[in-house]
Symmetry: C2
Subunit: 336 residues, 2 copies
DNA sequence: TTGAAAGCGCTACCAC
DNA sequence: GTGGTAGCGCTTTCAA
């Protein structure tokens, strides 16, 4: 069933059918009804390739992330997918893993698919020396980065102020008398650096010394985090609070502490199910995907319609208080 | 840059370029090199729409699930996406939520995109009265269902034997002296029914009575599961083991039991991060996505190449033992 | 081994 | 308001 068949059965030309298909104005109500009836009856749907050929667009956006199996990316993808479909866009998903060359290649493949826009979720940019592929890509298609940064023309960045969030946490722990704050982190992605810098700057602004031994890099694994904290405890390295770049790591730390029957304030990151499920439940920083993702799609639509969009937006994070740490009273009032 | 440009710069016709692009045989090595050089030099990539128009295929498969934010679906999508990209297919993702009409519509939209195949991950089929859309879809395109069932021509089902897994768990708990096994479940999807039936059949084959009060349906939420179990305890309804259709629910039950300082065997389902993170860690049934997903992609390729594939495959589940329950010794030997 | 040309199904411009 | 038609970029058949 093609547009020709529909035209024939309706007794009009394909031009008219096409007009109707595309909501064109210059069609009499009568013909419109007639043609629509035929379309309905025959269950006709336009060939998307032919349409794509003509319009050089297929209403599709590419989503790039390292791994949807990870809860953080999964949530982002989930929200983006919903928003995009709602707006009539299809979603092409690429999970690239961590190797820069794979990311590069995936982006390239996405562009070959002639997508209308690309959204990168998080990124290991800062570990890469060369971001020229982003620059190139942005010349061909609007490029959006959620929780990442790349200052090229055509690139729109939307991020959560993780740096500020970590700083604030340090300050709050300090206010509550904590002086030796352990910080666990894993990958040094853009986001990873933001948080680590936040930790460092937080210490500094509280007048606390930077202690190499208290900033511990581990694998992104419950057991490695647990192992690392356990070793610290065994070695007698003192600390009186724990922060992590990821709920999973916080949970690992918690397990180690429990084994030693030590209770300390713990603050995780990402406000994931893990934070809820841990016992006691973990206070955690919400990275605002619920806000960032719909906002990004909004910008995308605006840009695609020929409008303008800020090329960088930063949103404050939000501490979700659970059992392992609460803000002091005056702080709460301040927030209220 | 089109195929015409390449042809011109190479001093050949577009037919020859096309042949080379498609790995055609009847081209002299000399011309091939010449043309490939031009392609490389100009960074030419074929227009995917034009190609799609000609071939009526775009090497793309549609993935349909209820929600990628859920760890189970996320894992499946992650594995499938990897396998498919590796085989040269692109992935169109649709998350439909739970409403049947939305699923239906998503499937329809996917078909309009002229995908080469569709994979449904899990499904609430059994709650729907009408699966005719699946039947229709399968006529147009190979349809695969992971952990779901629909016996129509053209539909290939690949599932994990969750029914058997739950039955075995009941038997094992029975062997260890448990007589009142609580079962928590949430959605009655195909998979949900499989497990519930497994519970029922497990009881029966052990000669245990079915007790309405011990099969409890809850929301898919940590807190609702906790609440439900807590209420049971408050009401004095006795049970001596807990099984759940989802690790999250098992974790909720665990929280309630802990609050009452009761320790019982607990078996979760899905072998997720939550099972690992819980304290004590949850023994859980692995639903074998690591096996099912690559296998499904294998069948898909075979079918697309014109081969045959079994229209139904079932794989045994695997109990992953952690702290909340261990198999008895003789059972272990049997497995070895 | 190569080229010419006929589609593939649709959009959009130009006439009427 | 409607129809004719020239592309869009590629694949593939048929001749040469």
């Amino acid at each position: 069933m093609t547009i020709y068949d529909v035209a024939e059965k309706s007794g009009v030309s394909i031009a008219t059918v096409s007009r109707i298909l595309n909501g064109g104005k210059n069609v009499s109500e009568k013909t419109r009804q007639k043609v629509l009836a035929v379309i309905e009856e025959e269950g006709y749907t336009p060939n998307i390739f032919a349409r794509g050929l003509g319009l050089d667009s297929i209403q599709m956006v590419g989503l790039l992330c390292t791994d949807v199996a990870d809860a953080y990316y999964a949530k982002a993808v989930s929200i983006l997918e919903n928003e995009l479909h709602q707006k009539g866009f299809d979603v092409l998903l690429y999970c690239t893993g961590n190797r820069p060359e794979d990311k590069k290649k995936s982006l390239q493949m996405l562009l070959e698919k002639r997508v209308d826009a690309v959204i990168l979720i998080g990124s290991a940019f800062r570990e890469e020396t060369d971001n020229s592929h982003l620059e190139q890509a942005a010349k061909q298609v609007p490029l959006f980065i959620i929780n990442g940064l790349a200052e090229f023309p055509g690139v729109t960045c939307v991020a959560c102020d993780e740096h500020g969030a970590v700083m604030q946490n340090v300050a709050e722990l300090y206010k509550q008398g904590r002086r030796r704050i352990l910080y666990l982190y894993d990958a040094l992605t853009y986001s990873g650096f933001q948080k680590l810098d936040g930790y460092r700057d937080g210490l500094q602004s509280c007048g606390l010394p930077w202690d190499e031994a208290l900033a511990v890099r581990v694998e992104k694994s419950l057991w490695d985090a647990k192992r690392a904290v356990f070793e610290l405890l065994e070695e007698g390295i003192a600390f009186d609070a724990v922060m992590a770049s990821e709920d999973l790591l916080a949970a690992g730390a918690q397990k180690a502490l429990q084994q030693k029957e030590i209770t300390l304030p713990i603050i995780g990151f990402n406000n994931s199910l893990i934070a809820e499920c841990a016992t006691p439940s973990l206070t955690s920083v919400d990275n605002m995907l619920d806000t960032l993702c719909p906002y990004t799609v909004g910008l995308l639509l605006r840009l695609l319609k020929g409008g303008e969009a800020p090329n960088k937006t930063v949103v404050s994070a939000k501490l979700v208080e659970r059992e392992t740490f609460q803000l002091s009273e005056d702080k709460k009032e301040e927030t209220t």
